[in-house]
């Protein structure tokens, strides 16, 4: 079915098609219309699910953690400070290996208060053990939500589906909602191996010692460090699983084929711009213009941020003359997180490109196509002079 709806409704439709069984959410701008839509689906009966209108984001994730532990497919969504309020719960969900799916309508973090878009919220949660996927448009939002449930349930790792607040959450775009029976065929019912069950009682998330310890039968059980090592390994291995899921989705629905990064006009180019979210599509206009002027540059969107697709980065960027990383977040006092990750991935390649970092759009600061055009053109002209310090695009005065 073709729809013209907001990004939030695209996400809600994906959740409905995925037959989420327990949904808990606390309203926060710009996520709110997504949860309103889900509560409407549940109230009208088009989605059979438990909708728990919790009193905080911390509790939203608590409901999801507990429901998932009990064997139900759980979903929540949030933005900005709501995501940060969940922080310990995010680590808990990942450590407990629960296949929860959460949408993050990306928004800047206070203080000062901002409701507008940047990526600082989800980027600040990159080290918690969640898989992070970024969607660039409404079609990718709905498709990614459906894929995220399948991915999380295969690898037992929670998945964050991130999309730009307002720029995608509140704008209307045409997209296709797949038929329910085809989604059902793609995404089987959730049936976890371990769940809270009086017939097979077990104690989840108990205190775990630094060292390994035998159980009552004398079999060695892992210590905390083994459990965490397994999480890391499974995160790394989840990239292969994501690749297979993306292929299966492509076969079933005819969309996808770029599970990790999405290059645009990057073949045989000298320079590549890298960015995440809707910015990578915005940048395509700039690339088209610059290519028409003879500047040999392409753009690559990053769709998987955690686990970090370092091999995909090496394949795509090794041998280029320069790489320009444009991002809407940074590690304060250092550099952009994506920039640092890409730089690290490229450290050992033989033909290491020059690499530069460009910070823009924080707290919803308007990103003008002209600004992008000027910045990319200038960077392509003098990549040797850019250095390692982030270049801030669009600053207008100094805060006192």
């Amino acid at each position: 079915m073709h729809l013209i709806e907001s990004g939030n409704v695209a996400a809600a439709t994906g959740v409905k098609l995925s037959r989420a069984q327990v949904i808990a959410a606390y309203p926060i701008t710009p996520q709110t219309p997504l949860t309103e839509k889900l509560s409407e689906f549940v109230a009208e009966g088009s989605l059979t699910a438990e909708y728990i209108p919790v009193e905080s984001e911390h509790s939203a994730m608590a409901v999801c953690i507990a429901a998932s532990s009990a064997g139900a497919r759980a979903f929540t969504a949030t933005s900005a400070n709501g995501l940060l309020y969940m922080n310990e719960q995010l680590h808990w969900a990942a450590g407990a290996r629960l296949p929860i799916v959460m949408c993050v309508a990306n928004r800047g973090i206070g203080a000062p208060w901002t409701v507008w878009n940047d990526h600082q919220d989800s980027i600040s949660q990159r080290d918690g053990g969640w898989i992070q996927l970024y969607a660039n448009d409404h079609q990718q939002i709905i498709d990614t939500v459906i894929k995220a449930f399948r991915l999380s349930e295969i690898v037992s790792i929670p998945v964050m589906v991130c999309y730009d607040g307002y720029l995608l959450s509140h704008t209307y775009m045409p997209f296709e909602a797949p038929d329910q029976d085809r989604v059902d065929a793609f995404l089987p019912l959730f049936s976890p191996k371990n769940k809270l069950d009086p017939d097979q009682p077990s104690n989840f998330n108990t205190v775990t010692l630094p060292d390994v310890r035998p159980d009552v039968r004398g079999n060695l059980a892992p210590g905390y460090m083994e459990i965490r090592h397994t999480l890391h390994q499974d995160m790394r291995n989840s990239m292969e699983v994501l690749k297979d899921i993306d292929q299966a989705f492509l076969d079933a629905f005819g969309r996808g084929g770029t599970p990790f990064v999405e290059p645009y006009r990057c073949d045989d180019v000298e320079h590549v711009v890298v960015c995440m979210g809707s910015l990578s599509y915005h940048m395509r206009d700039v690339i088209d213009q610059l290519r028409s002027e003879g500047v040999n540059v392409g753009v690559m969107g990053v769709q998987l941020y955690r686990p970090f697709p370092d091999q995909a980065m090496v394949s795509a960027l090794s041998g280029k003359r320069s790489v320009m990383v444009f991002e809407k977040a940074l590690s304060y006092g250092n550099q952009g997180a994506l920039y640092a990750d890409i730089k690290s991935a490229l450290y050992n390649v033989d033909r290491r490109p020059l690499i530069s970092n460009h910070i823009l759009g924080l707290g919803g600061r308007e990103i003008k196509t002209q600004h992008l055009y000027d910045a990319v053109k200038q960077a392509c002209g003098n990549p040797e002079t850019l250095g390692d310090t982030p270049h801030w695009i669009g600053l207008k005065c100094q805060a006192s």
């Binding site: 069984q21 327990v22 808990a24 699910a49 438990e50 728990i52 209108p53 919790v54 009193e55 905080s56 911390h58 509790s59 939203a60 994730m61 608590a62 409901v63 999801c64 953690i65 507990a66 429901a67 998932s68 532990s69 009990a70 064997g71 139900a72 759980a74 310990e88 719960q89 808990w92 809270l196 069950d197 009086p198 097979q200 009682p201 077990s202 104690n203 989840f204 998330n205 108990t206 205190v207 775990t208 010692l209 310890r213 159980d215 009552v216 059980a221």
Partner: protein, 295 residues
Amino acid sequence: MEQKTRTLTLTEEEFVYPGNRACAGCGLGIVYRTALKALGKNTILVVPPSCLTVLQGLYPIAATKLPCVNVTFASTGAAASGVRAAMRALKKENMNVVAFAGDGGTGDIGIQALSGACERGEDILYICYDNEAYMNTGVQRSGTTPQGVVTTTTPIKGKTQLKKDVPSIVAAHRIPYLATASAAYPLDLFDKVKKAISIKGPKYIHVHTPCPPGWGFDTRYTVKVGKLAVETGLFDLYEKDAEGFRLTDASLRLSGKPRKPVTDYFNTQGRFKSLPETMVADIQKDVDLKWAGYC
């Protein structure tokens, strides 16, 4: 009136193994063992960090024969809501979903999630075992630490503030069943847990739980100390439901009779050693006033 459980009619089946990691004389040991007997097999437990986390054992060994999910400190009420939602979604209606938390996890860091669950009318039983301080981390003051008590964060002079009345806060949510109980009266606790799980909606039981190392008394006096709290009228056993408020068990028997002076209770425990005479007199006056209101 329903039949009261007696020692001879108490369920024999145990759901927590002996030899668990509770301290000697632990009041929670009595509370947990008794409550689980009343709950029976069809139960899922939700536990935040607390003494109970330790009692239950270290991975991969657990003392409890029921499924249990350990959750973050502030999230117990919400997590229990999540288990219940999953039970509804999976059509497993005949399951007791029971939160088991300490006083800090209930009345301090966990009060928001508990309040949310009560307001939403979640079909859960929340049992708070109140040992009147953060015992698991080494006896720091909590909201339910009584006035005058010396803890590691109220040293020398003791706590200056009053004990937070958590059951009254919960009662303000007008839930269908609320009770207080004591580790010293396990049969009364057993009957209250049984009654609670027969009722739909949020249920709350607040259990006074003596703690030998935290309160400063010999491990053999757990029941004696618990009983003195009731016999002096400091901690009252009651129920509150659609039919209203009523004293129960030992507190009901105390009604209209002379109570032991509060000093009988204070003198049994090292934690009251800094309690000044004037404060003792004030506390006795408060207790007398409270009991005058019961008659």
